[in-house]
């Protein structure tokens, strides 16, 4: 668990981070979003003390940050940056094994851990263990970066726009892999990005920052439904907000049981998002889809009218609450 209370950072006269309060519960994925220069990276780097804050308190697992030796603290916090920061003169295996080596693990343990991580991140050992960073593609290099951050099995992972320099296809692939890793590993993640789709897709807790301040924070759904001001609204995509919200909802949460009528000839998997369902309806000129399970057996039905109606209800109930 990470807790920041009234944290500020000033560089000379400039205030980079202004009186921030933020709690990230254990095992949660927190995304800091905002335009460049809003202080999100600075906030992240205060957590592993790459930058020392000017005032306020940061508490990590119940202890004030000052209670930790900064070097030892960093060894138990994974850190991934956009430019990967891999050491160009070391092989992939050596790069990944860095923190275990700093922690003086035995050679066998390091080797085993490196192999495990390379398998976890889809880097075949024979092919990649002895390559140097300049021989890797951007996506491969960032996988190595993530593996290196995870090497000593830290509870906390700090990621500073890790996928910002990748092409869209690789980026989406790595986002999906990170999401599936997170669902298994349950790290406490603080993730900085300016890509709102990325944040909506990955985060449990979304923090929107502007000019060093937190404008709004909450679950992605809550922010989508009730953006506090025009800035948050435009960051969340303005008119596209409805679709972004639909992207966060699964088909199976909105389907109705099979009726007496024949199921539609257009089929969609129950695990797809509502956004994908809407897109299919538009493409296939239909307002009804048959929902199928992984064996392609119909298990329910999805209709446009019902989606719209439920969205209205949700909005109403949120208002009352």
């Amino acid at each position: 668990m990470i807790e920041l209370s009234q944290v500020s950072k000033r560089f000379g006269d400039e205030t980079a981070v202004d009186d921030i309060n933020l709690k990230v519960a254990k095992g949660k994925f927190c995304a800091l979003v905002g335009t460049s220069g809003c202080g999100k990276s600075t906030t992240l780097r205060m957590i592993n003390r790459l930058i020392e804050r000017s005032s306020g308190d940061i508490i990590l697992d119940g202890q004030a940050l000052e209670a930790y030796d900064p070097v030892k603290l960093r060894r138990r916090i994974g850190y991934v940056i956009q430019s990967t920061g891999l050491f160009p003169h070391w092989t992939v295996a050596r790069n990944i094994g860095l923190v275990p080596r700093l922690l003086k693990w035995s050679a066998d343990d390091i080797q085993a851990r490196v192999d495990e991580l390379m398998a976890l991140l889809g880097l075949p050992i024979e092919e990649f263990a002895h390559k140097y960073p300049h021989q890797l593609s951007g996506g491969q290099a960032q996988r190595v970066g993530v593996a290196r951050a995870l090497a000593a099995d830290p509870d906390i992972l700090l990621m500073d726009e890790p996928f910002g320099a990748l092409d869209p296809i690789t980026r989406i692939k790595l986002q999906d892999e990170l999401a599936s890793l997170q669902s298994r590993l349950h790290k406490t993640v603080v993730f900085v990005t300016h890509d709102m789709d990325e944040a909506l897709k990955l985060a449990d807790h979304l923090v929107v920052m502007r000019d060093g301040r937190i404008v709004q924070q909450g679950t992605p759904l809550a922010l989508l439904q009730h953006p506090k001001d025009l800035f948050v609204e435009s960051l969340l995509g303005g008119l596209e907000r409805g679709l972004k919200q639909a992207a966060l909802t699964r088909v199976k949460d909105h389907m109705s049981s099979l009726g007496p009528t024949l199921p539609s000839q257009y089929r969609i998997s129950a695990d797809f998002s509502l956004r994908q369902a809407l897109s299919m309806m538009l493409r296939d000129h239909t307002d009804r889809l048959a929902v199928v399970d992984q064996h392609d057996v119909p298990i329910g039905e999805l209709s446009l009218r019902k989606i719209v109606k439920e969205a209205q209800l949700e909005k109403g109930s949120m208002r009352e609450a």
């Binding site: 592993n48 790459l50 070097v71 030892k72 603290l73 960093r74 060894r75 850190y79 940056i81 430019s83 990967t84 920061g85 891999l86 050491f87 160009p88 003169h89 070391w90 092989t91 860095l98 923190v99 700093l102 140097y132 960073p133 300049h134 021989q135 290196r148």
Partner: protein, 398 residues
């Protein structure tokens, strides 16, 4: 069928356009071989030799063979491919290896065995061909993408062959006669030269790296230190030796401890001081730049992973800086090898002794006896340290 299909497509030549560099080099070599004196003959050491052209030196068959081989280089270069370049490389090496045999033939034709003082001088075309062949070697190394170790190996092999020929069969060569007259002296001079350069460069590396580290720690030192080192570089070497003479002589006369250590106005001490003064700038500059150029992202990652300052320096900053740092050592060493020749003037010994003695006696071959080894030493050190720096590039990045 469209109109485009009916048009004849120009055939693309495989491997691209002819290599202009090698082609023109081979033309120049042909002109040199037929137009300039290959060797010179002199009845004794002091008399100016008379030039002999290629036909007189190695006869028509020899001249034709040489011309054919040179043409082959140009021919192979006109249709570039890996095999052709490798073949051209073979021809260049063959020519280099044949050159001493040409001298043997020439000495057989031209030197009268009844005249014990008669000697064969190496002529302008021989030197030029040697120089141009080295240029070909450099060009071919780049085309074949070989490491810098290759020319070193090839030239070492060729050099050994030449040495063998010279010591066994080339007694009439003026250079060999000069060597035979003072072989002990020569070996000692080479040793002195290498020791002087080695000690000077060694001291410069230690001082230079220390100074560069201090400059990193105390930024204000940086400007004044670089200004001082730049100023030192502008003093002519001879003047620096002269400037050191008086104060060192005074020190030796007034501080007995220093005199016992061998400090004096002439000899090794001023030579070393001057060499170190000149060597510091390239070492400090390259060390400083090398340490500063390491990417801040990499260093931040090192900090963020939990490396301590010392670990960061030894495991990340220094290894990444090493190639550029070695580049500084290379420049310094080559420069020091040349400067040490001048140090002979103040009695420091070394190969410069032969140069200045030869100049004094108007014996150009003796000058060569000093100058050639200096050239070879410089080339060897240059190539060897270059190859080392290349091998140490992180992960083989070019």
């Amino acid at each position: 069928m469209s109109l485009l299909d009916a048009l004849p497509t120009p055939k693309l030549r495989r491997g691209g356009c002819p290599n202009a560099v090698l082609a023109s080099l081979s033309i120049v070599m042909l002109a040199v071989i037929w137009g300039m004196d290959a060797v010179s003959v002199a009845p004794n050491r002091i008399v100016q030799g008379t030039g002999v052209d290629v036909l007189g030196a190695i006869g028509l068959p020899g001249a034709l063979l040489a011309s054919l081989l040179i043409l082959a280089i140009g021919g192979l270069a006109s249709q570039p491919s890996r095999t052709n370049y490798a073949a051209a490389m073979g021809v260049v090496v063959l020519l280099l290896a044949l050159m001493p045999f040409g001298l043997m033939v020439a000495s057989h034709f031209l030197i009268d065995p009844t005249l014990p003082q008669a000697r064969l001088g190496i002529g302008a075309s021989y030197w030029l061909i040697l120089f141009i062949l080295l240029l070909c070697l450099i060009e071919l190394r780049l085309r074949l993408a070989l490491t810098r170790l290759w020319p070193v190996l090839i030239l070492t092999g060729v050099g050994l062959l030449w040495w063998l020929c010279a010591s066994l069969w080339l007694d009439d060569l003026a250079l060999v006669q000069e060597f035979n007259a003072r072989d002990r002296q020569f070996i000692r001079a080479v040793g002195q030269h290498i020791v002087l350069v080695g000690v000077a460069v060694g001291i410069s590396i230690v001082l230079g790296v220390l100074l560069a580290m201090l400059m990193r720690r105390f930024r204000r030192l940086q400007k004044s230190a670089f200004a001082m080192l730049n100023f030192l570089q502008t003093i002519p070497s001879l003047a620096l030796f002269g400037l050191l003479l008086a104060p060192l002589a005074w020190l030796a006369a007034n501080v007995p401890v220093l005199a016992q250590l061998g400090v004096s106005g002439i000899g090794n001490t001023p030579a070393l001081i001057a060499l170190v003064a000149y060597s510091l700038l390239p070492i400090v500059r390259n060390t400083y730049i090398a340490l500063e150029q390491v990417s801040p992202d990499t260093l931040e990652a090192a900090t963020a992973m939990g490396m301590r300052r010392g670990q960061q320096f030894w495991q990340v900053r220094l290894p990444l800086a090493l190639p550029v740092l070695l580049e500084g050592v290379r420049i310094t060493t080559v420069q020091a090898i040349g400067l040490t020749a001048v140090a002979a003037l103040i009695g420091a010994g070394g190969l410069g002794t032969f140069i200045f003695q030869g100049l004094g006696q108007a014996a150009m071959d003796m000058v060569l006896l000093g100058a050639l080894p200096i050239l070879i030493l410089a080339l060897l050190v240059d190539a060897a340290l270059g190859a080392l720096a290349e091998a140490l590039r992180p992960g083989g990045i070019q």
